[in-house]
């Protein structure tokens, strides 16, 4: 049962993916769709290989912004969550503004940020961070405030200091929520970075994948556009897989979400 379940988990999506790609290739060939309208998957794959020299450095640029924004989001999100949960006043005073930052479309404020922050990589990082930090903040606040009430009583009973209750009770209780927030933030950081790159439209040595897409669009190199898109998606999947792995590693011994199903 277990072996079959695991096999299905890999096999099922792979089969669906292969079927979709085959259908795409078939439609392109049978209908004779020109590559500048819709390139087939084989051509896209070939373009990835052929343009690797241009695309790979751009991928690294985008990933660097994403990674930096994600790290800042994780650290600041956690720190802000801790500050918010220390006092209801602070939480009430500041949380609405965190929400406002979250719901304002990044496309709308990215031009302003790029205008104000002269150094483009920093401007991109700020945009990506703005998109990514909220899930960490709100999830961690939820985690820090969902501590088992009886355990809180137990810590009080044994005279735990505020620091001890935080370090040994609230923080570990919040860990699954924090990791859940990170999983969402990882993908959002990438989206934020790409959107900001689109708005900034930077050229030259520091251009990320979004710029490659713009550039390919202007010059009607549609296969390259698809190739860049493919790399962005692959990077997103990789980030998600990485964070899921970290989460599993940290929680597998004790948290419901990561337990192997019982026989």
């Amino acid at each position: 049962m277990a072996a079959r379940g695991r096999g299905d988990r890999v096999l099922a999506p792979v089969l669906v993916g292969l079927a979709a790609l085959a259908a795409w290739e078939a439609v392109v060939r049978m209908e004779g769709i020109p590559p500048y309208i819709l390139p087939g998957p084989i051509l896209v794959a070939r373009t990835v290989v052929a343009d690797w020299g241009t695309l790979f450095p751009s991928l690294l640029v985008t990933l660097a912004i994403t990674g930096a924004a994600f790290l800042v989001a994780a650290v600041l999100g956690l720190a802000l969550a801790v500050v918010f949960t220390q006092s209801t006043f602070i939480e009430r005073a500041f949380f609405p503004y965190a929400v406002i930052l979250q719901v304002t479309p990044i496309v709308a404020i990215a031009p302003l940020i790029i205008l104000w922050v002269k150094w483009i990589p920093l401007a991109l990082l700020i945009c990506a961070w703005l998109v990514a930090f909220f899930p960490v903040l709100s999830n961690t606040v939820l985690g820090l405030t969902s501590t088992d009430k009886n355990l809180v009583d137990l810590f009080r009973l044994y005279g735990a200091t505020r620091w001890q209750a935080f370090r040994y009770l609230r923080l570990p209780s919040a860990l699954p929520y924090f990791l859940g927030g990170l999983k969402i933030s990882g993908g959002l950081a990438l989206i934020g970075a790409v959107v900001a790159e689109f708005v900034a439209g930077t050229g030259g040595a520091q251009s990320g994948l979004a710029f490659r897409i713009l550039e390919a669009g202007y010059t009607l190199q549609i296969p390259r556009m698809f190739a860049a898109l493919l790399l962005i998606s692959a990077a997103g999947v990789l980030i998600f897989a990485l964070l899921t792995g970290i989460s599993r590693l940290l929680l597998r011994r004790w948290h419901e979400s990561e337990l192997e199903p019982a026989d």
Binding site: D148, N150, L151, D153, L154, F155, R156, L157, Y158, G159, A160, Q164, Y168, L169, P172, L175, R253, W254, H255, E256, L259
Partner: protein, 253 residues
């Protein structure tokens, strides 16, 4: 009143919830050293509230609670209705918690944790995580954690209510002999007549909300109790008596 000074004495203790509900109404109770006192009452009679007041987890709205000045009266262990374990910590770390919070040296903690584990029969499970244990074993961990500080008073809030009968009988027997061996003063809250009689050297029946003492009787059978007591006529007679007292308390509301 020739008895020794009580471990803890409650005088006219009341507790009013913020919602305006009176949970306890001028309740007075003296807990004698070394006795196994079971508090029996229907759901919602304020039993848990009473235990929380004694533990200092809540303040009475009226009356006062006095601890005996000698023998570190505040040395108490608390066992909740649920095992209340930290899911991320191994059995031994869960049991060590009270010592860690009190900054007891690692060398001394190790010895005391080992002792507590032996007391509740959890040898071999030191490195397990709570999720790997059955309900009964989790409760044993919870009891070991309460014992690790070597308390004189053990407060227990319906600790066996969620367990199956076979496990419960076993844990009741073990608790009875443990309390006897360690000369513990136990306050044990339950809604089961049978459990209150089986464990208690004294049964205090509480009335429905607002809780007050409706009856207070001794169960004259030697401790520790065992399976022989469970089938004895003395036990059955005491159960009948306590049942009648509980029924009267329920009617009197």
């Amino acid at each position: 009143m020739t008895a020794a000074a009580p471990v803890v004495a409650l005088q006219g203790v009341s507790r009013l919830y913020a919602s305006g509900t009176l949970a306890l109404d001028r309740l007075s109770l003296r807990v004698e050293p070394g006795e196994f006192l079971t508090l029996l009452g229907p759901s919602g009679c304020g039993k848990t509230t009473l235990l929380r007041l004694i533990a200092g987890l809540a303040e009475p709205s009226g009356g006062h609670i006095e601890w005996s000045p000698d023998g570190g009266a505040r040395q108490l262990g608390f066992v909740f209705q649920e095992p209340t374990l930290m899911p991320w910590a191994r059995v031994e770390d869960n049991i060590r918690l009270p010592l860690m919070l009190a900054a007891v040296s690692p060398a001394e903690s190790a010895g005391r944790v080992g002792e507590a584990i032996a007391h509740v029969g959890l040898e071999g499970f030191e490195r397990a995580y709570p999720r790997e244990l059955s309900g009964g074993m989790k409760m044993r961990v919870s009891i070991a954690r309460a014992l690790v500080t070597k308390p004189q008073v053990l407060l227990m809030d319906e600790p066996f209510a969620a367990l199956d009968e076979i496990t419960r009988f076993k844990l009741e027997n073990d608790l009875s002999s443990l309390a006897h061996r360690r000369r513990l003063t136990v306050l044990f809250v339950t809604h089961s007549v049978f459990e209150s009689v089986y464990l208690g050297s004294r049964v205090v029946v509480l009335s429905p909300r607002p809780g007050r003492v409706a009856a207070d009787i001794r169960v004259e059978a030697p401790a520790p109790r065992g399976e022989a007591f469970r089938t004895s006529s003395a036990y059955i007679e005491a159960c009948r008596q306590v049942s009648a007292l509980l029924a009267r308390a329920m009617e009197a509301r």
